[in-house]
Amino acid sequence: MSQEAAIAHHGPPTSFLRKHVFSVDHKVIGKQYFALAIVAVFIGMILSWLMRFHLVWPNAALPGLQWLSKVGAPAGVMTPEYYLSLLTMHGTLMVFFVLTNAPFAAFGNYFLPIQIGAEDMAFPRFNMMSFWTTFAAFVVLMAAFFVPDGPPISGWTAYAPLSAVGSDAGPGQGLGQTLWGLSIAIFCIASLLGSLNFISTTLDLRAKGMTLMRMPVSTWAWFITSCIALLAFAVLLPACLLLVLDRIAGTSFFIPAGLVISDRLQPHSGGSPLLWQHLFWFFGHPEVYIAILPAMGIVSHILINSMRRPLLSHKVVIGSMMAIGFLSYMVWGHHMFVSGMNPFSALVFSFPTLVITIPATVLTLIWLGSLYGSRLQITTASLFSLGFISMFVSGGVSGFFLAQPSIDIYLHATYFVVGHFHLVMGVAAIFGIFAATYFWFPKMSGRMMNETLGKIHFWFTFVGAYCIFMPFHYLGLAGNVRRTSSFVYDYAQPLIPVHKFITIAALCTGAVQFIFLINLLYSRFKGAPAPDNPWNATSLEWTVPSPPPWNNFGGKHPVVYHDPYQYGVEGASGDFIMQNSPEKVPVRS
């Protein structure tokens, strides 16, 4: 069989449905993931607005909220339980449908095959199934808003036994929680299919000359992330299965004997609530890196382009990302320091948690060292990349404290942790998504985004994010407990002005995101036409038209001659050499 025949997975799409809806084209699927993530992030953001509003103006009615839930928000004022419902849905939407979908599934789907010179993913049909399964998971999760008791109240971590016993545990813990479990199980299947595709594509479909070390750092990041996701979601899926069985089939995997909830003895025996936490966090901590590693790769890819020179060491960057991926499986217990597990276990988990900061620090130093002395081109994409580093460092530093059990025991249930993970995982990854959007939008749509609006968006978001999340650390140190909808204790009263400041910052920063949305939609239809290579970049995605044809390289098979980042090469005909350029340049002695 010829190579051409082997690579030609599918012909051009022939119908509207095949082209835009049930497409097997990795680029369409990437855009579908991106669109889903945009919908999810705006829903998630509005939920956070509602929570912040209720925290500081607990008695003020929000017109229309009663439409969402008559029980949860009678007359527009939410009940404490409904606050927890919104908290659960905010976390679930953001972690699964935004932080996993956008940087990994959306941009990875679109650009991984092109960056390695492939025509499509290894298994295009699996790829299509992967997106539509994710969409089904989203629909099932959203359905929880419309069931009688509303969405679950047990948080995005769904700690057992409250998540396992049913409606005795509160409103939303009935059908809403079951829908949550099913949704996440479906999401796991989708992610496993996606990871299978990413790994097989990277290993098998690289163009001639595209050795592993010639892959762009963004491709490396998606590849390592897919390896992490493959093993992490493979554990969360059985965990969700066990949880759903406890809920609907009367089993006792996570529910202990003699448990009385709402004055009712639960008809279960012998289960282990800690088992859920172990299984969940065995997935949950790698999930943090599933969110952040693609952003690391994307940001590196963009900064190299903006600096017009490679990072200090391509190999060390890749090695550090691999080390982070490997170590991410050894630290899950640091989420459980206050769970009641053996205190000696805490020590065991604390050590690798501190060790994992080493490759993260190495990465940061490489970014900063490479930036030092460079003449960085200030684009919206490079600004968001710098913002990513800023958020990653600011959020990461508090991780040093939380990694130590004796400090974590005090801080664990406070806003300090909220500030930590929002900065290091949430905002940092979101900045990576923004950077990727501004950088790759011309390739994806064939039109440029508005840079002025982009820079306005960046500065307001950058300042706004710090205004929201830095004060959380102060609140946590002051003992402000998280996951509560009101401040009933006297000691918390002086903290309310800080909360008001955060709420106003959140409302303003959220509003700024509509500038991004308008820019995205306006540029999609009215933006200036994009050339094939607007950023004078070197990797293969910039060798194809904007947007690329259905088969990426027009039926040709690219040949790769160079490392991915040939910028500022002495003796070259220009400032950069594209990976597929056969140009030979003398090696500098």
């Binding site: 069989m1 010829s2 190579q3 025949a5 082997a6 690579i7 290894a122 298994f123 496993l192 990871s195 299978l196 790994i199 097989s200 594509t201 290993l203 098998d204 479909l205 163009a207 001639k208 000359g209 595209m210 050795t211 010639r214 093993l231 493979a234 554990v235 899926l237 059985p238 299965l241 066990l242 069985l245 089939a249 009367g250 089993t251 006792s252 995997f253 202990p256 004997a257 012998g270 289960g271 282990s272 800690l274 088992l275 172990h278 299984l279 020179r309 490679p310 200090l312 060292g369 490479s370 040949v559 790769v560 040939q566 910028y567 090469v569 002495e570 070259a572 030979k584 003398p586 090696v587």
Partner: protein, 206 residues
């Protein structure tokens, strides 16, 4: 001290290297990736069993239905017939003596034994039910039903793969790729190994 912080990159002078001209066959890689994920899921189940046995005093060890041993034998035998089928398929496609009928025969035999295995597992469920042992009766029962069901779903997936192989071998000019045949057989053998492991897990007290 030089003012630049690092040197411009060196240019690769050699002709393109790396991936060979061999046609890519992602099924060959994909199957191992898929099996890694399946193995990880069952490792998670195993850890759940170990934790659950120690967490309560309600663990009642069940006597596994004897039909499981018959099922095990059938599944192991089906792996052997599949290996014979793989050789016959290769021989037939290369024109080295085996006929299409021989290849199809061994493949169909494997498919049939797979169906017998799934039916046998169902019979084991019925037997447990007749003894009053249901999914929620005790944790060992819960894991027994769960593991056998999840494994059976995977076996059904393998049967789908075998049916696909047979369909691709059927046309006058077979469109079956070696990597598809190999991937299907690796998956099937893995199901056999996994079942023996699961049988030990539910049969022996960990």
């Amino acid at each position: 001290m030089a003012t630049t912080v690092h040197e411009p990159p060196k240019i690769e002078q050699k002709p393109p290297t790396g991936v060979t001209d061999r046609p890519p066959e992602p099924a060959r890689t994909g199957i191992w990736v898929g099996l890694a994920a399946i193995a990880m899921s069952f490792a998670a189940f195993t850890s759940a069993i170990i934790v659950r046995q120690g967490s309560g005093n309600d663990w009642q060890h069940i006597v596994v239905p004897r039909i499981l041993f018959f099922n095990t034998a059938i599944l192991i035998l089906s792996s052997l017939t599949l290996e014979v089928a793989r050789k016959k398929v290769a021989s037939f496609i290369r024109g080295q003596g085996a006929t299409r009928a021989q290849a199809m025969g061994w493949l169909t035999a494997t498919l049939g034994m797979g169906l017998v295995f799934v039916a046998g597992q169902y019979a084991a469920w019925l037997q447990l039910r007749s003894e009053g042992l249901y999914l929620a009766t005790n944790p060992n029962c819960s894991f027994f039903y769960l593991l056998t069901a999840v494994h059976a779903i995977h076996v059904l997936g393998g049967l789908g793969g075998l049916a696909r192989v047979i369909r691709r071998l059927a046309p006058a000019v077979p469109i079956l790729r070696k990597s598809t045949m190999d991937a299907t057989s690796y998956y099937w053998h893995f199901m056999g190994i996994l079942w023996v492991y699961l049988l030990c897990v539910v049969w022996l007290k960990l």
